[in-house]
């Protein structure tokens, strides 16, 4: 009987054998004492020489945009490059502004996304968001952009609620020599950049770049803008175990803006047209030390200044950050990562009738620590990662953000993962200190006064909270095809609402007006869920297809005591339910490359933005080994289309128009 069972078992095994059998079950540690000299000599001891950043191997919904993808799709900004990532909504509000969000909550002041450039956070605590127009560098020097959908809170702490965008530039040793790039077109009127990289001795590499860009307005808008930028990076590796990086950037620019603002005098709105001046700089230092035995240490510090002056609300902010991380193995093959960080940020603001902050000058600090434990339950097959970040900030005091992830590798070609985590979005300065007169309603008899609708921050505003549950599956069923799927369920609490208070008449200098106050509160909650799919198919030599699909549903509601009737509806229906992105890459003949990108974005009910299909294309030719010429067409299918609606502060949305440019890149 047992031999029959044995035969049946073997037969069953045989039917499941394929060319790529599952990895052998983990062997008990080899008993070296039983081995002969010949066998001992054949043994190979493997160790991972260099550990990637933890999240790369972390079981999470990650998409990596490579430098090559940025180059071949012809995108001209980091913001635009994000279109190819499932789960990310990218809307071009006007020539210089973007509404970008991951898994919903995507308006100009999208506040649930953390963005890092080479480890430096570019998240602005004024409004808990990112000004995309100034987050840029010489794109040819970008190594990759990693987009993690889902809370990255364990490693990056508060405000990495819905996702993290991590931009990494190439090391100086990978950008040696000279590069000059020029492009010109109807939208991107002129962008010129130059970079030179060299070395000192054998261990010190450096590069420096300058970049100037000038963009035209969108149709019907007054949003032309230009920025000049310069920066450098030096990497010094005195030996195999030590690396020091110092880098910095400076930028200065001018943007045209047209804002519709509230006014106390009839017709109670005014058109404001004036330039916005943006400037900033940063200096960052990083030291990495490899102790051997899989033990690494990293210390990083940076200073960042950012300024945005436009008469409605001027802000100049300085941030100082220190971050330490240590990774080491402990018993049972576990790997521990611990970190500690401190950030101090201070700003100076000056406001206007439309918006002002009180206090106008404010300093905040955050101290944080995190711990992560990677536990191989079954070596190389089942890994459990547990971690938590603990923060102490002067807004909400203590926050803890724990997370657990499980990754299962049942077969060489299949990987599954699941995660549960908690993340918080700490209050922005805006939510605590702002007084914003967003609208003025004309006198409505019997009231003789106009009514100012005034949004006010509240120091009692709490952090928003998310509990996220995710499932993911990655497979490479045959070598040319990679499939990546993620499902998520996000449970939100204490989302921001604007609560109506009792109107009152304001005394003081004429004209007298009534005030309808709105106060920030945390009385909305709900859940969102969705799916993200990405597929890459190397069809043949020189032909590659990529597709990304995003599905999202949001259900938000206010709690019983809330008087906010608009927030749930506006937030819930402010994201498209479906987004499709397709890209075909083709190398028709030697030295010629062609890429075709298409996207479909579903309609956005709350914004009254119609669904649209658009297409970009890029044809490039390597004229010589060092000179590449390219012609790029963007948004080719329609003369113009809307992607977003007006921003909350009155930036009118303008239509993205059909555009094209020619570019030349010369390396020497």
């Amino acid at each position: 009987m047992s031999s029959v069972l044995m035969l049946a078992y073997v037969a069953l095994l045989a039917t499941f054998q394929d060319q790529n059998p599952p990895p052998p079950p983990p062997k008990p540690p080899q008993d070296l004492t039983e081995m002969s000299l010949e066998d001992l000599m054949k043994l190979e001891v493997t160790s991972v020489a260099k550990r990637e950043q933890p999240f790369i191997e972390a079981p999470a919904a990650i998409t990596v945009i490579r430098g090559e993808d940025i180059h071949r799709t012809g995108v001209t900004s980091i913001a635009e490059a994000l279109r190819m990532v499932p789960g990310v909504f990218v809307g071009h509000l006007d020539s210089s502004k973007w509404a970008i969000g991951v898994r919903g909550f995507n308006d100009l002041f999208s506040n649930k996304l953390l963005v890092l450039i080479d480890g430096r956070s570019v998240y602005n605590p004024l409004f808990s968001g990112v000004y995309w127009d100034v987050q840029d560098t010489l794109l040819e020097d970008v190594d990759r952009i990693e987009v993690i959908r889902g809370p990255g809170s364990t490693l990056w702490g508060a405000n990495a609620v819905n996702g993290v965008v991590n931009v990494t530039t190439k090391k100086a040793q990978d950008t040696q020599g000279g590069l000059v790039t020029v492009l010109g077109g109807n939208q991107e009127q002129l962008t010129a950049g130059a970079r030179y990289g060299g070395k000192v001795g054998d261990d010190l590499y450096y590069r420096a770049y300058v970049k100037y860009e000038n963009h035209a307005s969108f149709t019907g808008g007054n949003d032309a803008w230009s920025i000049s930028r310069a920066g450098f990076r030096t990497d010094w590796t005195p030996d195999r175990d030590n690396a020091v990086t110092v880098q910095g950037d400076l930028y200065d620019g001018e943007e045209h803006n047209r804002l519709r603002l509230a006014s106390l005098t009839p017709p109670f709105t005014s058109q404001f047209e004036a330039p916005t001046y943006v400037h900033g700089g940063n200096l960052l230092g990083r030291y990495e030390h490899n102790f051997g035995s899989d033990c690494q240490f990293r210390a990083q510090t940076y200073w960042d200044r950012t300024g945005r002056l436009y008469d409605i609300l001027d802000e100049t902010r300085d941030t100082l950050d220190l971050d330490l991380q240590l990774r080491f193995p402990i018993f049972w093959s576990q790997r521990i990562t611990i970190g500690a960080g401190y950030r101090w940020t201070t700003n100076d603001t000056s406001g206007s009738f439309s918006a002002s902050l009180n206090p106008a000058h404010r300093s905040d600090d955050v101290a944080s620590t995190f711990i992560q434990d990677e536990i191989p339950l079954v070596e190389n097959v089942l890994t459990l990662t547990l971690g938590s970040k603990f923060e102490y900030n002067n807004y909400t005091r203590f926050e803890d953000e724990p997370g657990a992830r499980l990754s299962w590798r049942p077969h060489e070609r299949h990987a599954l993962w699941a995660s549960a985590s908690r993340a918080v979005r700490t209050p922005s300065q805006f939510e605590e200190d702002v007084t914003a007169n967003v609208q003025v309603l004309p006198p409505n008899p019997p009231s003789p006064f106009p009514t100012v609708v005034r949004f006010m921050g509240d120091h009692a505003f709490k952090a928003e909270e998310l509990r996220a549950y995710e499932l993911g599956y990655r497979t490479r069923p045959v070598d040319p095809l990679i499939l990546d799927a993620a499902l998520f369920f996000n449970d939100y609490h204490r989302l921001r609402t604007s609560e109506q208070g009792t109107p009152f008449v304001e005394g003081g200098p004429p004209p007298t007006n009534a005030v309808a106050p709105l106060t920030a509160a945390n009385l909305m909650e709900g859940h969102t869920y969705g799916a993200e799919l990405a597929a890459t198919w190397q069809v043949a030599e020189g032909v590659r297809l990529y597709g990304a699909y995003t599905f999202l549903r949001m259900h938000l509601h206010t709690t019983d005591d809330s008087t906010d009737t608009s927030s749930p509806v506006t937030q819930e229906h402010a994201s498209p339910s479906n987004i499709v992105y397709l890209r075909g890459s083709w190398d028709p003949v030697k030295d010629v490359t062609f890429d075709l990108m298409g996207r479909y974005v579903d309609f956005i009910p709350a914004w009254k933005v119609r669904h649209y299909v658009e297409m970009d294309a890029r044809l490039a030719w390597m004229i010589t080994r060092n000179l590449e010429a390219a012609i790029v067409g963007q948004n080719l299918l329609h003369t113009s289309h809307f992607e977003t609606t007006d921003s909350q502060i009155g930036n009118p949305a303008t239509q993205v128009q059909r555009g094209g440019y020619l570019s030349l890149t010369w390396r020497f």
């Binding site: 000299l37 010949e38 001992l40 000599m41 160790s47 991972v48 790369i56 536990i375 459990l384 990987a415």
Partner: protein, 206 residues
């Protein structure tokens, strides 16, 4: 934090082998076992004069800096009756004369500068000399252990992410003149040992 700690502990009680060695510890254990195997009759035929009686142990001596520690002790303690009926004993000393009656002496890197005098102490005696320092084989040590490291880039099949992986192998060098000298002293190195895949076969440097 408490629930994180309890989960770590809970997974810890899961019965698992201790596979937490890092690569340095693993290579150390491989070297220790190689040293131990060298005294086996498969590889070395000992004249009867090197044993007091049929039950005397094979003695491995460690001179100077000991790179193995308990790895050599546990390798020696594990009896392999198929290979040898004799037990293996490990002794350690800083004085080569005290180790003159060992079957095998492992010469630590601390002896680098006085290797000549050390080898003189074992000249003409039925003692295998083994080291793990560069150049020892050319200077007269019978067998020298080394490490060969290659760095390979491995691409994960599913995620496409590339990782750098270091592969380390323990290599052996042999001094053929010392083989002859041992033969004269009565110790025969078997053909099985001579046919091992040595990284280098050297002769005394002139």
């Amino acid at each position: 934090m408490v629930w994180v700690a309890s989960l770590i502990l809970a997974s810890g009680t899961h019965a698992r082998q201790d596979s937490g060695d890092d690569s340095a510890a693993k290579t150390r254990r491989i070297k220790a076992n190689m040293v131990r195997n060298l005294v086996f009759p498969d590889y070395t035929i000992w004249p009867s004069k090197t044993f007091e009686n049929a039950r005397s142990p094979l003695v491995i001596g460690v001179l100077g800096a000991d790179p193995f520690g308990e790895d050599l002790d546990s390798a020696a303690m594990t009896e392999v009756p198929a290979k040898s009926e004799r037990k293996i004993k490990v002794v350690r000393d800083a004085d080569p004369t005290k180790l003159a009656s060992c079957h095998l002496v492992f010469i630590g890197s601390s002896e680098k500068d006085r290797l000549k005098e050390v080898l003189k102490a074992f000249e003409g005696r039925p003692v295998l000399t083994v080291g793990d320092t560069d150049g020892f084989a050319e200077r007269g040590t019978l067998i020298n252990l080394g490490l060969k490291t290659t760095v390979v880039t491995v691409k994960d099949k599913v995620t496409g992410i590339e990782k750098e992986v270091t592969k380390t192998k323990v290599t052996l060098e042999i001094n053929l003149d010392t083989v002859d000298r041992l033969k004269a002293a009565g110790v025969t190195v078997t053909s099985r040992l001579l046919e091992l895949n040595f990284d280098k076969k050297v002769r005394d440097e002139k």
